[in-house]
């Protein structure tokens, strides 16, 4: 089903948007939003938001963190969606941004999850919690500001096991600082889990000529705790 959704999104975007990196920026009209289209890869793989520890946990989150085990209960082991911001920071596989005026779609090769950023609406009321949440976006100058809420609490914030609640709120400021470089400044707020906002910057490099490939996590996964 996920693959079907991704293929559908790619087909729609291909017909509506100039999605190739070669068209990026050079073809942007004055006053028009920048073109973020292209295949991007994290410049430096940093799976942990706090590699040396020191996350500002609330007691609730600290207890949950102590129960995490990278070898037994990482949702990623079971090929479950990574959620946000893990989707954006802790995946050493490329992502493609497909840009349309009313929607921006991010397809990640690794998780094979499509993230949709709606540019023409607000968050719906009474969101049903989901892995990727509900993302809306707006342009502030050359910066795409993405606001995401409506998460379930089944994902980790990073590859190190940082927990979160359904109150998770992620704001990302994404901008193309030069033709080959994309920067995402991420702010994570979750007052149930953290005593102050968490911030992180991810840098991505354009991978000209790359295409997103198939990645079937369930194919030969020897780590799934769900299978045990």
């Amino acid at each position: 089903m996920r693959n079907f959704l991704i293929l559908s999104a790619m087909a729609v975007a291909a017909t509506l948007a100039p999605s190739h990196a070669a068209h990026a920026q050079e073809g942007t009209k004055p006053g028009a939003p920048p073109d973020l289209s292209g295949v991007w890869l994290v410049e430096k793989f940093q799976p942990r938001l706090f590699p040396s520890g020191g996350a500002p946990f609330t007691p609730w989150a600290e207890a949950k963190f102590k129960a995490t085990d990278l070898q037994t209960n990482d949702p990623n082991l079971a090929c479950l969606p990574m959620g946000v911001p893990r989707f954006m920071i802790a995946v050493p596989y490329p992502m493609e941004i497909l840009q349309m005026p009313t929607r921006i779609v991010i397809i990640h090769e690794g998780p094979q999850v499509m993230r949709q950023v709606y540019m023409n609406r607000q968050h719906p009321k009474d969101l049903d919690p989901s892995y990727s949440g509900d993302a809306i976006g707006k342009w502030e100058g050359d910066t795409l500001v993405v606001d995401t809420i409506g998460f379930n609490d089944k994902t980790w914030l990073d590859g190190g096991g940082l927990p979160h609640s359904e109150a998770l709120h992620v704001v990302e400021r994404i901008r193309r600082v030069d033709h080959d470089t994309l920067v995402d400044d991420i702010t994570v707020e979750d007052p149930m889990a953290y005593t102050k906002p968490l911030t992180n910057r991810q840098v991505y490099k354009l991978k000209a000529g790359w295409e997103i490939q198939e990645y079937v996590c369930e194919e030969n996964n020897k780590y799934s705790y769900q299978a045990k």
């Binding site: 793989f45 799976p47 990278l70 070898q71 990482d74 990623n76 082991l77 090929c79 050493p92 596989y93 090769e109 690794g110 590859g159 790359w210 490939q213 198939e214 990645y215 079937v216 996590c217 194919e219 030969n220 996964n221 020897k222 780590y223």
Partner: protein
């Protein structure tokens, strides 16, 4: 950087050489490989391919390693996903049973005959890394 133990060196002394190389890159594994493998140590293992899984989320090389007495130990090496390996020059037929190979990577923390692969040297001397 952690110093390899003498005990570990003796375990496969004929064919596996522990070194103190500090490793960079090699990040293209899907699951939390840092929790299974000792990324601070590098080992070099010579063996004979028995099979090659060209699969997601990981590819695997299965190979036989002979110790200095001729006893065979069954090893496996974990690689990353197919697409990233292909971008690094790998193909599904890069390896076939019987190929003599040298593997460089990280040992399993639990001393099982399993490694996380960084680089391979094929019988013809060609080197292939698992990361770009």
């Amino acid at each position: 950087m952690r110093t390899p133990t003498r005990k570990g060196m003796l375990a496969f002394s004929a064919t596996a050489i522990l070194s103190l190389l500090s490793l960079a890159g090699s990040a293209y594994a899907h699951h939390g490989f840092v929790s299974w493998f000792d990324m601070s140590r590098s080992i070099t293992v010579k063996g004979t391919v028995t099979s090659f899984d060209w699969t997601n989320p990981h590819s695997y090389i299965y190979f036989d390693v002979k110790d200095d007495k001729g006893a065979v130990q069954k090893w496996s090496a974990e690689l990353g996903a197919v697409a990233m390996l292909a971008r690094a020059g790998w193909r599904k037929d890069t390896l076939k049973p019987g190929d003599e190979i040298t593997l460089i990577g990280n040992p399993a923390k639990d001393a099982k005959p399993l490694m996380h692969l960084d680089k391979i040297v094929l019988a013809n001397g060609q080197e292939l890394a698992t990361a770009l």
